[in-house]
């Protein structure tokens, strides 16, 4: 099984880290794109903390060595080199587009929590439910849009948990990071009852098409 860590452009050699299960990294190529791989026996991989961290470590180390990078999610295995090449060649155009988009950017994550879960409207009227939903949607939009405005691209994850008002991922140019953090501070000040958690910079996991290929 051929295991994929990332698809890159302009990869400047492999980093000196081992992959999942201590497997050595392999530098592959398809459709003119750089692939970072490791080889494993056929079968599934255990998503242990160790394995997930090994994967993350490889992706992290690749950021500094590539002009653009699309991280793969954990568990992207291919039967053989042909299957891998086919998958990449089949999506070469969208992969190049995605690489162009993420080039030079980092991902910043923002989660916003309510102080308590939104009260379940089960006992109330249909109208009360609708009004609560309206307020909820508007609140999330009020938080997401100002941040998305400072990013090259943004995604929102919906339907997370009752307390997570917003889970956003933002593709930010390094020069915009300060402005982005200021914007988060402004939103925090405007919503003192909410908890904001900003994390990053991350490799652009959320902006790789289909996760990766």
């Amino acid at each position: 099984m051929i295991y994929l860590y990332a698809i890159a452009e302009g990869l400047d050699g492999l980093p000196e880290v081992l992959g999942v299960d201590g497997a050595p990294l392999v530098h592959g190529s398809a459709a003119g794109l750089d692939l970072v791989l490791s080889e494993h026996a056929a079968g599934e991989l255990d998503a242990s903390e160790e394995a997930v961290l090994a994967h993350a470590r490889v992706v992290e180390a690749l950021v500094a060595r590539s002009a653009a990078l699309l991280p793969a999610r954990f568990g992207r295995g291919f039967r053989d080199p042909d299957a891998l090449r086919e998958a990449i060649e089949g999506r070469a155009a969208s992969l190049r587009e995605a690489l162009a988009q993420v080039r030079g950017c980092v991902e910043v994550g923002v989660r916003v929590l309510r102080p308590e879960p939104a009260p379940p409207p089960a006992a109330e009227s249909g109208r009360a439910y609708m009004e609560a939903r309206l307020a909820h949607t508007e609140e999330a939009r009020e938080l997401h849009e100002p941040l998305a405005a400072l990013a090259r691209a943004a995604t929102r994850t919906v339907g997370a948990t009752p307390r997570l008002l917003l889970s956003g991922a933002y593709l930010v140019e390094p020069g915009e990071l300060d402005a982005f953090r200021s914007r988060v501070s402004e939103l925090e000040a405007a919503h003192p009852e909410l908890t904001f958690v900003t994390t990053g910079p991350w490799p652009p996991y959320s902006f790789a098409p289909g996760g990766e290929t």
């Binding site: 992706v59 999610r73 954990f74 098409p209 996760g211």
Partner: protein, 63 residues
């Protein structure tokens, strides 16, 4: 029970964020047309058609 010392809360959160990115446990809608579950592309859904229909309906309803 583990004998490994508890990580500080900040590190726990960062680890959870990292795992959430790397594992992508949920379902991703990508490029309007492919639905992936746990990294396996399972279904081609004419989502664009569905969504276009929705927005057309909205527009017609507004007229």
């Amino acid at each position: 029970m583990s004998t490994v010392p508890e990580r500080p809360l900040e590190q726990q959160i960062t680890l959870l964020e990292l795992v959430d990115r790397v594992l992508n446990k949920g379902v991703t809608l990508t490029g309007d047309i492919t639905l992936s579950v746990a990294d396996v592309d399972l279904v081609y859904v004419g989502l664009r058609v569905l969504l276009t229909t929705v927005s057309t309906m909205e527009r017609l309803a507004a007229e």
